[in-house]
Symmetry: C2
């Protein structure tokens, strides 16, 4: 064991009575290593292992001028949304021999900037940003361009800024949810709209309205509710709970609630059950995202699944392509990937209490 500091190449070289070069060539499996006698190679490897040698990635990166690192900046790792995306990214990068350096902005702009800078300092070769909000005008973006580091963003469309973007088709998702409730026979449907500063809110709401419209239904404005802008991504639960209480207090009922996301839906369920109503018998609830708590709550929340893992994989693939073309092509065009969401039917949705009268009168239903 060394007195201090790490075991280096020259430690190994000294122990083997060889030069640093030879040891480096062998341990890094450079092309030249085929010219080194197998016995020597083995001797070096054994010695390196017994000394506990591990190459210094800083020295290596400096010399090779490659870090094999991609930065992944998530707006909040504790949001269940991020986890599968990050995992998809990680898998894909790992297979391409890249290390994904993950940092967590915790929805704080200050941290966001700090970490973006840190990724630059750590010489990430590319950056993937997961952010359905924040990330507006930071001048670090210019620095990233100056240093020729490609970016991909997950969760919103920034192709206008010439950044390749991967996101779910929110319009279609909203429409899927609404059509599901309409198909079940609901007509009095309450809608909880997302915070205004979140990118997803508007297209989702559009999809909901368009689907209602196509079925000849105009959504009653008295049955819509707006979630406030909040920093805490877990606040959706509180919002849903408050909505349910207010709605029940107002006496202005509905047979189904279409919530902005799963946390909101779980808040609504809590409010309804607390008041002694049954879900879905008295009122259906539909969420969005398909996060873990929605699947394991009882009743299971009917929701719109975002292909999160797939989105991560796609983002990583696009980034790897950009890295490949980095030197040849200067001008890359930003691409937009809008992935299809999927309806996941669980037990929080059912025909309305009076469905038999509203729909087909046959006794089979």
């Amino acid at each position: 064991m060394r007195e201090r500091g790490h075991v280096t190449l020259s430690d190994v070289a000294r122990a083997c009575h060889l030069s640093v070069s030879t040891v480096s060539i062998v341990l890094s499996e450079a092309p030249l290593s085929s010219h080194v006698a197998e016995t020597t190679r083995e001797r070096i490897r054994v010695m390196a292992a017994s000394l506990g040698y591990h190459p210094d990635v800083h020295a290596r990166s400096l010399r090779r001028r490659r870090t094999q690192t991609v930065g992944v900046l998530a707006y909040d790792m504790s949001d269940p949304f991020c986890i599968p995306v990050v995992r998809g990214i990680e898998e894909t990068l790992q297979a391409a021999q890249y290390f994904s350096l993950q940092v967590n902005a915790q929805t704080q702009r200050m941290l966001f900037d700090r970490y973006l800078r840190m990724l630059l300092e750590r010489r990430a070769e590319g950056v993937i940003v997961i952010a359905s909000w924040v990330f507006e005008e930071t001048n670090l973006l210019a620095d990233i361009e100056k240093n020729n580091v490609p970016i991909v963003i997950v969760g919103r469309d920034l192709t206008a800024r010439r950044i390749t973007s991967v996101l779910v088709d929110n319009h279609e998702g909203g429409a899927l949810a609404m059509r599901h409730l309409l198909d079940l026979g609901h007509r009095r449907i309450a809608v909880i709209r997302g915070p205004e500063e979140m990118f997803d809110s508007e297209p989702r709401w559009q999809g909901i309205r368009d689907a209602a419209c196509a079925a000849g239904l105009r959504i009653d404005p008295r049955l819509t509710f707006q979630l406030p802008n909040q920093v805490d991504p877990h606040s959706g639960f509180e919002g849903g709970l408050r909505f349910a209480r207010e709605m029940l207090a107002s006496g202005f009922g509905c047979s189904a609630v279409l919530a902005f996301d799963d946390l909101t839906a779980l808040g609504v369920v809590r409010g309804l059950l607390e008041a002694g109503l049954r879900v879905p018998e008295d009122c259906s609830v539909v969420g969005f995202d398909d996060i873990l708590p929605a699947a394991i709550a009882t009743p299971g929340i009917t929701t719109i699944r975002q292909p999160l893992n797939e989105m991560g994989v796609l983002a990583a693939q696009r980034l790897l392509e950009a890295l490949d073309q980095r030197d040849t092509t200067r001008m890359r065009k930003a691409r937009l990937h809008r992935l299809a969401p999927e309806l996941v039917v669980r037990t929080s949705s059912a025909p309305p209490p009076t469905a038999e009268k509203e729909r087909a009168p046959g006794p089979g239903r």
Copy 2:
């Protein structure tokens, strides 16, 4: 913008008609920078900013022989258990100007080893491992010692290997849960024990038994159930669900279920509700951990909270201390921190259906 590669100190120096040294001294705010004229300093800073210069952390680490980096190896970042621990670690390290390099072993031993090696290669100055399982005999441990990198582990006791350990008092937690049910008046209590290969399982079970014993209750072996060893940390839900179904099918009932963790508890709730029973009126359910889904499900799960954030903070503090003493003290003694858990009463637990008869007969209760 440079043709390729990043902007370097010498780019800035050239643009300022100054030497690399001066620019370095100013931008890194070295002590010598007080000797540099303020006008010069400002000129350098402006130029650096306009060129988009960011210091190369690899070159800096190489020269300074410090990386200001601590590795955080979690056995599974998608486990809600890890999130608050990691956040506590991150906060604490950040305040001490350290960067926490987080990696996710996804409960795979192969990844665990690979990432541990990577942390060594990235010259993490210390390592925090979050692992209630895995992490048995990896010879990388020896390498870590050889390179004089301090370790702290969260989630199990490895003081026998002279590694400082931070964990919750599982024995006390189990006892708390059992005493809560006993206090409510339950006598027929089913217990779902954790997987054998998980460190927490045994002490938790001991605590449960000791508390029962102290109250003069012997737990009926027909009411205990053993979760199988599983790689997927989300499998607790399935286990709980299966338990509930089997128990109901056997007709051998109980008035309360003490589940190994929250996911298991949520599985039990699903099984009971599916069968038309009410929670907590017909059967109480208690979990362990206090993860998000337990709080936002309805009924909210009564559970034993682990002070996860605090555990992260503590682990980081101990590591920072070890880093401070690294050079002076060679022999550090490993410390054991066993933190007190806390009972969180929600709505999944209540007196048993026949509580009035079993306990005090007064009408006030």
